[in-house]
Amino acid sequence: MNQVLLTLQRWRALRRSGDAVFRTFIEQPIPAPGTLFTDAELVCMDIETTGLNPKTVDMLSIGWVLIRNSKVDLATAEAHIVKPNGGVGHSASVHGLTDTMVSDGIKPSEAIERVLGVLAGRVLVVHHAGLDKTLLDRICRERYSEKLLVPMIDTLALEHRRRSRHHHLGENISLRLPDLRQHYNLPWYRGHNCLTDAVASAELLIAMVAAREQHQKTTLADLY
């Protein structure tokens, strides 16, 4: 998203919203687009859900880890089980989370509150952002009547742009997280655990930045 537009939207939201948590989040300015990647703090996030339709699915778990000084900081890794409105259904076969496991989870509104806490002043990083970001926006709107107004890097979109620039985009090229990781000589991780996937996308991002020409000069604007 255009960063000027984002700033404008955040400013409008600040005027409208009376919620203390949301205001604290918005009052923390977003990092300038010219900030060097190595100076910025980024939050790599992954969500497991009950299905694929962002308008109807429930969040089951959410995990994140921070990138600081171009390093993935595992001390900041955090994950939460979220109690869905409905049941887990067939999705249990994908992520292994059962109804019993999620019954003790936190409420979605509580989850989004923590998300706002960690994202304040930072940049969100998601691999294949579509579903996750739409779902976060929906939960955020349900709780605070506003979208999740945060700068975001989508590692899949970033790689897609890079390859189309270099005409490396064949029909059979997969941009799935495990395939991209292999491309950057990153180890294979068992997928569909929200925290593992968050770490996996964080490693992918630092690898993608390291592979850029003059990577020390990479700014956030180069990655949006």
């Binding site: 890794a77 994950a79 991780y189 925290l195 593992t196």
Partner: protein, 612 residues
């Protein structure tokens, strides 16, 4: 639920980490940082401070020493950085990714906590450290501790007492023999051990009578070790069993006993322990006093089977640490430097070929951003380091090639100009300078400044045949003599009458041949042996010639080491003046062929540059 199953599983299977508890493994997994390094990028620089243990998750790296020699390859599931972490010493090896590499960085404080909490974990890394020390080129033969056999640690025949003796008799014998522990035998068979501590705890403290049998207080069937085991295995065993004395058996028969203090004694002989000690000093006086051990240390290394190359690296390693620590002390006294700088060693320290007797040659290369006002700082820094080195026994350079001389304290730009002038206007003085300054090596500070300077020298020198030709002619100044009595150039008068300066007539011509050949090959290697190898690789000389010259150098340096060893044993100051009488006929013959080899190579050098 901050579980990181993939990372925890990987950590739990790592060698050394496999002994951690689940909670400890979890603590490791959730405290690490992950970094990604593209092939060709550095992780650690020589001389920098290291605060983390580095675990390779995927990819591979090479560890290279400051001369660029490969020390080790590190691949997935292996660690590096622990020697500097455990010794609190600066990084000794450059680590460069040779593939795109993912590294888990574990904070040093977490690592050291684990070593305190978990003895097995600690043991693993102590063992890895000894392995690494042995792999270090300096340490291959210059050992103090780790790779000696236990039998070599035994200093005297075993003191023992028969089991029928009374406590008092045994104690009297211990006093007479001045030992703190004694073995107990039963009909000649070793059956127990009794120590000062046993007598304290089991006799005196309990008010027992001294007339009872020693058998009643000895430790029965104590832990022992085979005489063929390595010293570090003995040290580990004593650590693990929390004992201070260890009987040594050869084929089941008692041959002696080693104590922790025996191990400490040889441990402190290891060069890296002195290096470590120097790196801990915060005052110049502290460094001077640590250096007092140096002559004895050199003497002990000379008396082991060290060759010239190893001894040169050993002595230089210590000079380097002294220099680095003096620079650090200077920085802490004067504050942060106003601009980036490199402390450069020249001459034999630059070539890592120092001998028992060396003076200092050094210079400062400053970043081009430096301004005139900065010189006050660097003059003060140079004074601290030059004076400190002198006080430590590295006497001032007689030719004033030292950083305290403003001429040799210049910006990178000026240095490049110096070299360009020497190379393009090679007057006699320029050639003399070239001989010293071409052997430059960064010892402290920004290595990139020296790398850049070297790159510029290589560019200038390899293209300038006239300069190389004049250098070659200059290298003829000292020729090795051919025959022994008739043609050996013996000093005719003075203190060294009828001796041969083996450095001037043997080693220096070789050093010069290597320097010129390497420059002609466009190689900026600094040590003489590496220069010869690089020149052979580039086709500048044949592989056979390189091998012969290295053999010749090995032999001449060995003679020098033996000569200095004899002098030090006789309580004399070591020098380079060999008297023909102190050589065996075989040594004379070998020296003759070594000299012949040098002369052939000198002639070939003249030919190469078309000098008749």
């Amino acid at each position: 639920m901050n579980e990181l199953p993939e990372i925890t599983r990987f950590v739990a299977a790592l060698p050394g980490f496999d002994v951690l508890t689940e909670a400890q493994t979890h603590a490791v997994a959730t405290s690490m940082q992950i970094g990604y390094y593209r092939a060709g990028n550095d992780v650690l620089h020589v001389g920098s401070e290291n605060k983390q243990l580095h675990i390779v998750r995927s990819g591979a790296l090479e560890l290279r020493n400051s001369e660029g020699d490969l020390v080790q390859r590190v691949a997935e599931g292996e660690c590096f950085g622990f020697p500097s972490l455990m010794n609190h010493a600066p990084v000794r090896n450059q680590s460069v990714a040779i593939e795109d590499t993912l590294i888990y960085h574990l904070d040093g404080s977490v690592f050291n906590n684990l070593r305190r909490e978990n003895a097995q974990f600690d043991t693993f890394f102590i063992r890895s450290l000894s392995d690494r020390l042995l792999a270090h080129p300096v340490a291959t033969k210059l050992h103090g501790a780790a790779d000696r056999e236990v039998s070599q640690l035994i200093t005297r025949l075993p003191v023992s007492v028969d089991a029928s003796a009374t406590i008092q008799q045994a104690a009297q014998k211990m006093v007479e023999e001045r030992v703190s522990a004694m073995l107990v035998t039963d009909e000649g068979q070793f059956c127990g051990i009794v120590t000062d501590r046993d007598i304290r705890q089991r006799v005196v403290a309990l008010g027992c009578e001294g007339q009872r049998s020693i058998r009643s207080i000895m430790s029965i069937d104590p832990v022992s070790i085979d005489s063929g085991a390595l010293a570090y295995e003995a040290a580990l065993l004593m650590m693990q069993k929390k004992i201070h004395h260890l009987p040594v058996l050869a084929e089941g028969k008692l041959v002696g006993m080693v104590s922790r203090s025996d191990f400490m004694r040889i441990e402190t002989e290891h060069p890296l322990y002195l290096v470590n000690d120097i790196a801990k000093q915060t005052t110049v006086e502290g460094i001077i006093s640590a250096c007092q051990r140096l002559p004895a240390l050199i003497a002990s290394q000379i008396s082991t089977d060290a060759n010239g190359e190893q001894l040169g690296k050993f002595v230089t390693t210590i000079t380097d640490s002294v220099t680095q620590q003096l620079c650090r002390i200077g920085e802490s006294e004067l504050g942060a430097p106003p601009c980036a700088y490199a402390w450069v060693a020249m001459g034999s320290q630059g070539r890592q070929e120092q001998s028992a007797r060396s003076d200092q040659d050094n210079a400062l290369v400053l970043d081009d951003k430096t301004v005139a006002a900065d010189d006050k700082y660097f003059a003060a820094l140079a004074k601290i380091v030059n004076d400190g080195l002198d006080a430590c026994g590295y006497v001032y350079c007689p030719g004033d090639v030292m950083a305290s001389n403003p001429k040799w304290r210049q910006s990178l730009r000026v240095w490049k100009q110096y070299f360009t002038n020497w190379i393009t206007v090679p007057e006699q003085k320029a050639l003399m300078h070239a001989n010293i300054f071409f052997d430059l090596r960064c010892v402290h500070g920004e290595a990139r400044l020296v790398d850049e300077l070297k790159a510029s020298i290589r560019e200038d020198a390899s293209k300038n045949e006239i300069f190389l030709a004049l250098m070659a002619r200059n290298a003829m100044a000292f020729q090795p003599p051919l025959g022994f009595f008739r043609q050996f150039v013996l000093e005719r008068s003075g203190e060294h009458k009828n001796t041969l300066d083996i450095k001037l007539h043997g080693i220096m011509p070789l050093v010069e041949i290597a320097r010129i050949r390497a420059l002609a090959a466009g190689e900026m290697r600094i040590s003489t042996r590496n220069r010869l190898r690089a020149a052979a690789k580039a086709g500048e000389i044949t592989k056979t010639d390189a091998a012969n010259l290295i053999d010749a150098l090995d032999f001449i340096e060995k003679l020098r080491v033996e000569h200095q060893n004899r002098q030090m044993h006789a309580g004399l100051k070591p020098d380079n003046h060999l008297s023909p009488g102190e050589m065996s006929p075989l040594a004379r013959q070998n020296l003759k062929s070594a000299f012949a080899q040098v002369r052939v190579s000198q002639a070939a050098l003249l030919n190469r540059f078309h000098i008749a």
